[in-house]
Homo-oligomer: 337 residues x 2
């Protein structure tokens, strides 16, 4: 029992496939009566158009957008994926996703698969160490490519990133404003990661702006929650420990929160980059520099759509603002000396 095709519908009605096509696509003139008979046959046969065939017309592209993110379980990237899908669906586009696990090779192979499918556009969150030189030909050929959260490497293309440096500066300045003169930095790894570097710069900017010295001993890192917790403990165990901490991403924040909570240290101020679901319920509630994943996704998707609509202007970098959310942990005052 073959699935009915357009030709089957046409035969049923006694017209030709093209007429059925016209009815289904609301295109060109079709007699009212013909239209009705076609629709009836469509229902009777349970006909469903085959998108694969439709997408395969002369040089046409698949009505889908390929999205590569590091990890789907991470709410930040999950929200990004949802945001992209919400925007493109209005245009009848479908979302194809793959997760790279922060692995440049996997990222590359996902991109290759998406290109082989002839997706209409590509949105990529680059992994550390990936290189996008190979995408040059695609870009030249007019394929819209937008890099999200982290900029492209070796390729001039559209980028949508958070205002990492400014946001981090705001967060650290907030701590300094509460009297802290020794502010620790807990970052993620690898330290070469774009977001990590930018936020670290913001941290240094804030110190410089306040006339505070930079002390390399106050900088530590961990590549996951537990490692960040250990980094936090190392900082607190210094001879001249920090009285406040700035955590440069959500895993670092979670690690620091955990470490402080276990150690019963409520005297250490903490501002985290990127918001957490339960931030408000922590004790003290966590002050954060919140990113806007949905906003970033929307910006990237809109950019992609405008490129698909023929916008050939030169590559843009869109900086999505962050927002300081004051909740308590960042307002713990510095101890008197």
């Amino acid at each position: 029992m073959r699935r009915p095709t357009m030709t089957d519908v046409a035969r049923e009605v006694g017209v030709t496939a093209k007429t059925v096509s016209r009815v289904l696509n609301d295109e060109g003139p079709v007699a009212v009566e013909t239209r009705e008979r076609v629709m009836a046959a469509v229902r009777k046969l349970g006909y469903q158009p085959n998108l694969m065939a439709r997408n395969m017309r002369v040089g046409a592209r698949d009505a889908a957008i390929g999205l590569v993110i590091p990890e789907m379980g991470n709410p930040f990237f999950g929200t990004v994926a949802g945001g992209v899908e919400g925007v493109i669906r209005e245009r009848g586009l479908t979302l194809i996703v793959g997760s790279s696990s922060e692995n440049a090779e996997l990222e590359h192979s996902l991109i290759a698969t998406f290109l082989a499918r002839r997706v209409s556009a590509l949105i990529v969150v680059p992994s550390a160490g990936s290189d996008h030189r190979r995408l040059r030909a695609e870009r030249v050929a007019g394929l819209p490519i937008v890099f999200l959260d982290r900029p492209s490497v070796g390729l001039t293309a559209d980028n949508v990133v958070s205002a990492n440096r400014q946001g981090a500066q705001t967060g650290v300045t907030h701590l300094i404003a509460h009297g802290h003169r020794r502010v620790g930095f807990v970052g993620d790894l690898p330290a070469a990661l774009y977001t990590r570097r930018e936020r670290f710069q913001g941290y240094r900017d804030a110190l410089a702006l306040a006339g505070l010295p930079f002390d390399r001993a106050l900088v530590d890192s961990g590549h996951d929650q537990d490692a960040a917790a250990r980094a936090t403990l190392r900082l607190l165990a210094l001879d001249d420990p920090p009285t406040a901490l700035f955590t440069a991403n959500n895993l670092a924040s979670m690690g620091a929160v955990l470490a402080l909570s276990r150690a019963g240290r409520r005297d250490v101020a903490l501002v985290g980059f990127d918001d957490l679901p339960l931030a408000e319920a922590l004790d003290p509630p966590l002050t954060v520099v919140a990113q806007d994943p949905a906003g970033m996704a929307a910006a990237a998707a809109e950019l992609v759509l405008s490129r698909m609509d023929g916008d050939r202007s030169k590559a843009r970098r869109s900086l999505v603002p962050t927002r300081l959310i004051v909740r308590g942990s960042g307002e713990v005052p510095a101890p008197r000396t």
Copy 2:
């Protein structure tokens, strides 16, 4: 500048397209020398096979799996998506996702789009109120369809769900074991949702097993975090309030944690269904009945693959076990009377 096709490669080498196809698919006999010349031409022209065309052969299906989840930003479903992708990628399948926002109509339209693309299989987390009768024909035609987290409605098909009832019973029994005789239930909405109903049954099972009376006044609900927080406060404001709470999903847990933390109520025991990222860092750390989203995703994906491999046995229901994680909030003892 057209993108090179198989025919272009063939012309370059002086063979026919079929030979190129044979080389690329390691199929049939090809002379070593021919193979090498083909590969050289592929590299020279930068040829990339067109998956759209490949997938469109006689009655063939798209090498992709359609996944419908309620919301991508929710780590539970994000993890599910990641888990599915990880398993199917090994088989060269691609993931196509859509989020239904718990809306039956949107769910239906996503499914229709996926069917139109002729996906190789469908994995669906049903929304409340959706009906899957229309998928009967697809199932009969042999399309693998697996329902995840919540069972199908109006259609006998494969299901993968958490051991909701047993898990909830375990959680509530745990509270009772710590001396609580009035245990409140904070659920999500709508109350007709499968998971909510099952967990509620588990709650009642635990009460019955312990010989405790069921008190409808101890049951409240909210459809999001804030509503759950308000529900929590309503329960605590009762004349004869609960001394322990069981929250039936992660939003309810977050709401309850928030409400208790704001009210400074550390004397109320709490066990939540579904784990939270920061559960350990809460004060007290949150005891939960953890689900296994990655395990569920893997089970669903494996089931789909086995169906694709021709397994025609009758529809299965797979119950994925939950796990009680003791952290502190569930062990707050009941006050003496």
